[in-house]
C-alpha cells in the first residue's frame, strides 16, 4: 500500500513541485481561457496575458524562494 501511495505521490509530483506556482499557473490559464472564450479579450491580449503572466509567476516564485531559502 505504501509503495502504491509513493508511486501516486511521485506521479502528482511530476506536475506540482511547488504548489503555489502550479496553482497560480492553473488559475492564469483558466482565467485567460474563460475570458477568451467569452470574447471579453482579444487574441493579442490573451497572448500577452498568457506569456507575461507565466513569466511573472515564475520570476516571482524564484525570487521569493531565493529570499526565503538563502544560500544552500
Amino acid at each position: 500500500m505504501n509503495a502504491i501511495t509513493n508511486v501516486l505521490r511521485g506521479i502528482a509530483g511530476l506536475f506540482f513541485d511547488d504548489g503555489t506556482l502550479a496553482l497560480v499557473i492553473v488559475a492564469l490559464l483558466i482565467a485567460t481561457g474563460y475570458a477568451r472564450h467569452s470574447q471579453w479579450i482579444s487574441d493579442t491580449v490573451a497572448m500577452s496575458i498568457l506569456v507575461a503572466g507565466t513569466i511573472a509567476a515564475l520570476l516571482e516564485n524564484v525570487i521569493r524562494f531565493a529570499h526565503r531559502a538563502g544560500p544552500s
Partner: protein
C-alpha cells in the same frame, strides 16, 4: 518546421529522465542483484506500454481543441517545474543534482534494507520498478504532449527512444551513473522548450492565433530563456547579499 524542435525537446527531456532512472537501477542491480532489478525494469516498461496504448486510443477520440488545452496545461506545468528547479539550482538556493552522490546514497539505502533471498529480492524489484515507472511516465507525458496535438508523434517518439537507448548503452558500457551529464543545463533548456510548447498549445486551444504560426514557438522559447536568465541573475544577487550579511 515542428518535427525538429519536437524531436530535440523529446530527446533532451527523455535523456534526463533516463539518466535518473539508470542511477537507481544500477544501484539496485549492483547491491541487491540484477535478476530482481531487471524484472522490476521489465514490469515497469510493460505497464508503461499499457498506459501509452490506453492513452493513445483515448487521445484519438478527444477533439483537437480540448486536447490542445489539456496537453498545453500539462506541458506548461511540467516545463515550468523543471525550469524553476534549474533556476534555483543555478542561483545556488538548492543543490545541484549529483548523480554520483545519488548513486552512493541509493546504494547505501539498498544495502541497509533486509529481506533478500538468493532468487527474489523485493527491494531491488520495487526500487527499479518505481524508478523506471516514474521517470517513464515523465517521458510518456512529454512524448504524448509534444506529439499528439501537432501530429508529430513519430519525431517525439523517436527522440525519446534514441535518448533512452543512448543512456542505457552508456550505462551498460560504463557500469556507473552518468555523472558527467550536465543535468541542470539540460533541465533548464528542456524546461524552456517544454514550457514554450505548453503555452503555444494552450493558446491554440483557446483560439489564439499566434503570429507567424508554428514559428511563434521559437519566439516563446527566446522570451522564456531571456526571462529565466534575468530571474537567475536576480536570485543569485539575493543569495550573494544574504551570504554577505553578518
Amino acid at each position: 518546421m515542428q518535427a525538429g524542435p519536437v524531436a530535440a525537446t523529446s530527446f533532451f527531456a527523455s535523456s534526463v529522465e533516463a539518466v535518473e532512472a539508470l542511477t537507481i537501477v544500477l544501484a539496485a542491480g549492483i547491491v541487491r542483484g540484477w535478476r530482481s532489478a531487471l524484472i522490476g525494469v521489465a514490469a515497469a516498461l510493460l505497464l508503461l506500454v499499457a498506459i501509452v496504448a490506453a492513452f493513445g486510443k483515448a487521445i484519438a477520440e478527444v477533439p483537437i481543441q480540448y486536447l490542445q488545452v489539456a496537453v498545453g496545461t500539462l506541458l506548461l506545468l511540467f516545463g515550468i517545474r523543471w525550469l524553476r528547479k534549474a533556476m534555483l539550482r543555478y542561483a545556488g538556493t538548492i543543490d545541484l543534482r549529483d548523480e554520483a552522490a545519488n548513486f552512493i546514497r541509493e546504494r547505501g539505502a539498498l544495502a541497509a534494507a533486509t529481506g533478500a533471498s538468493p532468487r527474489w529480492d523485493a527491494v531491488a524489484f520495487l526500487a527499479s520498478f518505481k524508478a523506471v515507472l516514474l521517470e517513464g511516465i515523465e517521458v510518456v507525458v512529454i512524448v504524448i504532449g509534444l506529439g499528439a496535438t501537432g501530429n508529430r508523434m513519430l519525431p517525439a517518439s523517436l527522440g525519446a527512444v534514441a535518448a533512452c537507448l543512448i543512456v542505457v548503452l552508456a550505462g551498460v558500457l560504463l557500469r556507473s551513473p552518468l555523472s558527467r551529464v550536465p543535468e541542470n543545463t539540460l533541465k533548464f533548456v528542456v524546461g524552456v522548450m517544454v514550457s514554450a510548447f505548453g503555452l503555444f498549445w494552450f493558446g491554440e486551444g483557446i483560439g489564439v492565433h499566434w503570429p507567424y504560426g508554428d514559428f511563434a514557438i521559437v519566439g516563446l522559447m527566446a522570451l522564456l530563456l531571456v526571462a529565466s536568465a534575468v530571474g537567475v541573475t536576480i536570485a543569485r544577487r539575493i543569495v550573494a547579499l544574504k551570504r554577505s550579511e553578518p
